[in-house]
């Protein structure tokens, strides 16, 4: 148990992931689901970036020619998270466009109402 407190960044990342995950599953309102998805993605990226951090080392930008490994942190997770952030923005933009179109059509944000209304429509 005390080990959790030592690794508090990763614990916080996992808690954020689970809160986002449960928001996305439990809430019926579409906008809440989208914000929950963003929180979930940010949680995963925090978890991934925590792995790359090394205490007492600086960001991987070469200053005045110093190029030994002991000076910088691991650059790979930063690259992966950069890609992840842009992926989560494009997914959010698409989901919001869908929500606006659905609101034109069904005048509700509640997913269950939409499914029921769509079920009644003709094919």
């Amino acid at each position: 148990m005390q080990y959790l407190l030592v690794n508090y960044e990763q614990t916080a990342a996992v808690i954020l992931f689970c809160i986002g995950f449960s928001t996305m599953l439990l809430h019926k309102n579409l906008l809440k689901k989208i914000i929950g998805m963003d929180i979930m993605d940010a949680g995963i990226f925090l978890f991934l970036a925590c792995q790359g951090f090394i205490k007492g080392r600086v960001a991987p930008i070469v200053e005045n020619g110093v190029q030994d490994v002991e000076a910088y942190i691991n650059p790979v997770p930063a690259g992966l998270v950069l890609t992840g952030i842009v992926v989560s923005v494009s997914v959010t933009a698409l989901m919001l466009a869908l929500t606006v179109r659905l609101y034109y059509r069904y005048h509700t944000l509640n997913l269950d109402e939409m499914i029921a209304l769509a079920g009644k429509e003709e094919v």
Binding site: Y8, E9, A12, I15, L16, I19, G20, S22, T23, H27, N29, L31, K32, I34, I35, G36, D38, I39, A42, F45, L46, A49, C50, G52, F53, R57, V58, A59, I61, I73, P77, A78, V81, L82, I85, V86, S88, V89, T92, A93, L96, T99, V100, Y103, Y104, H107, L109
Partner: protein
């Protein structure tokens, strides 16, 4: 230094729970904006400035802007429906008068 990071992570968790709990959509979008602002500061303490700029510009900036726009669009549609509903009531009101007379 690690106290500040712990405080910020605690704030993130509180923000996440607040989004889960709040009823009103506008407050949850504002809370999300604060969430991604604090997240970009956490990236700086994690010694990865690339992520900080991207999260600030893309996460806090564009995503929150799109969320606000979606809300504005939905309120605009609500306003339109109010106009239509009042118009429908007025017509129905008119017919009742017609039938009564």
């Amino acid at each position: 230094m690690s106290i500040i990071v712990q405080l910020m992570l605690l704030f993130l968790i509180v923000c996440a729970i607040a989004v889960c709990v709040t009823r009103d959509l506008l407050t949850s979008v504002v809370i999300y904006m604060a969430y991604s602002m604090i997240m970009s500061i956490v990236w700086i303490t994690m010694q990865s400035p690339d992520l900080a700029i991207t999260e600030a510009a893309v996460g806090a900036g564009i995503t929150s802007l799109l969320l606000f726009l979606a809300l504005k669009k939905i309120h605009a549609i609500d306003a339109r429906n109010e106009v239509r509903r009042k118009h429908a009531e007025k017509q129905r009101g008119g017919e009742q008068h017609g039938e009564e007379e």
